[in-house]
């Protein structure tokens, strides 16, 4: 399905679970936070959530700064 990830188009090959998307992008699940369509999706809901065509995803990590 077609998604926007961090502002860029991305074609997701999996079933639309969060974990699969992260694996696809080589992001470490334990160190990443995710927003779907502007909403923060808590880790406890990752199993239940399914991405849909056209979803806007933001993947956030901790970085040096602050």
């Amino acid at each position: 399905m077609n998604l926007a990830v961090n502002g860029s188009p991305h074609i997701h090959q999996g079933r639309g679970t969060v974990v699969e998307l992260l694996e696809e992008l080589k992001a470490v699940p334990a160190m990443t936070a995710i927003m779907i369509n502007g909403e923060v999706v808590r880790r406890s809901r990752w199993e239940a959530v399914r991405l849909a065509e056209g979803d806007e995803v933001e993947l956030i990590v901790a970085a040096a700064g602050g």
Partner: protein, 261 residues
């Protein structure tokens, strides 16, 4: 633990908090954090970038024992954005601490008191231990404390201004009336300033630029750690007061001699 720093429901040994920005490399940053003995370290939030996986700081910092990552909401321009940043930060770090920083003006980077207060209310309700970066205003400090913040973080001077403890007299007032720890943040230039904050009753300091921009950040971090310990120890030991002479011009208590019946 004797004389620990109480924040939220935790107690920490170190009273020096470190920011992780502005270092020339991750290795140097890690060396500084290690040398400082800091247990609370602030981090920024960035978009994940698959081309640059090294930007992710959690990996390297995980190599240090007992460090609590505190996400900083810097970049947020208003309460709504800051709350979203805090929620994201909690997902990453797994810890309830958040440094609430909202500065809409990019020239002086002064914190927005109104957005900060609004965000604090929301975040406290969400169960965060909120550490709000704030202007050195005594009334705002009490309002944030009443709102349930775990500490208050008044600035010594504006970020990057190099003005040291420009807000000294305000900080005294804040410290005197505070029921939560006062952590002075921003503007601290030298270890002696950090010691001064501790001597006047500050519970901790947060330092970033002064260490990151030093010639030898690890050594500077150690110097700050020593200064914070010295200042705290001096406070506990009871500082000798400045001498004050009270010169009575005419006897003020002569009226008491008339007490008869």
């Amino acid at each position: 633990m004797e004389d620990g720093l109480r924040l939220g429901d935790r107690v920490f040994r170190s009273r020096l908090l470190l920011g992780t920005g502005k270092f020339s490399s991750a290795e140097i940053m890690l060396a500084a954090v290690r040398a400082s003995g800091a247990e609370l370290v602030t981090v920024a939030l960035r978009r994940f970038n698959r081309e640059r996986p090294d930007d992710d700081i959690r990996g390297p910092l995980a190599s240090l024992d007992g460090i609590v990552l505190v996400p900083n909401t810097s970049g947020a321009m208003n309460a709504r954005e800051a709350v979203r940043a805090a929620l994201l930060g909690r997902e990453i770090t797994g810890s309830p601490f958040v440094k609430l920083e909202i500065h809409p003006n990019p020239h002086h980077l002064m914190p927005d008191p109104i957005e900060t207060y609004q965000a604090a209310l929301t975040l406290v309700r969400e169960g965060f231990f909120v550490l709000p970066y704030m202007p050195a205003d005594p009334v705002l400090a009490r309002r944030l404390e009443d709102a349930g913040c775990a500490a208050v973080m008044p600035l010594g001077s504006a970020i990057g201004s190099g003005q040291g403890l420009a807000t000294f007299s305000m900080l005294r007032m804040i410290i005197r009336d505070a029921g939560v720890p006062v952590i002075v943040d921003a503007g601290l230039r030298s270890p002696s300033e950090a010691a001064a904050v501790m001597e006047m009753g500050g519970e901790a300091v947060l330092v970033n630029s002064a260490i990151a921009a030093a010639e030898n950040p690890a050594l500077m971090a150690e110097a700050f750690a020593t200064a914070v310990k010295a200042g705290r120890q001096a406070r506990r030991a009871g500082l000798m007061p400045r001498s004050e002479t009270a010169a009575a011009t005419s006897p003020l208590t002569a009226f008491l001699a008339g007490e008869g019946a």
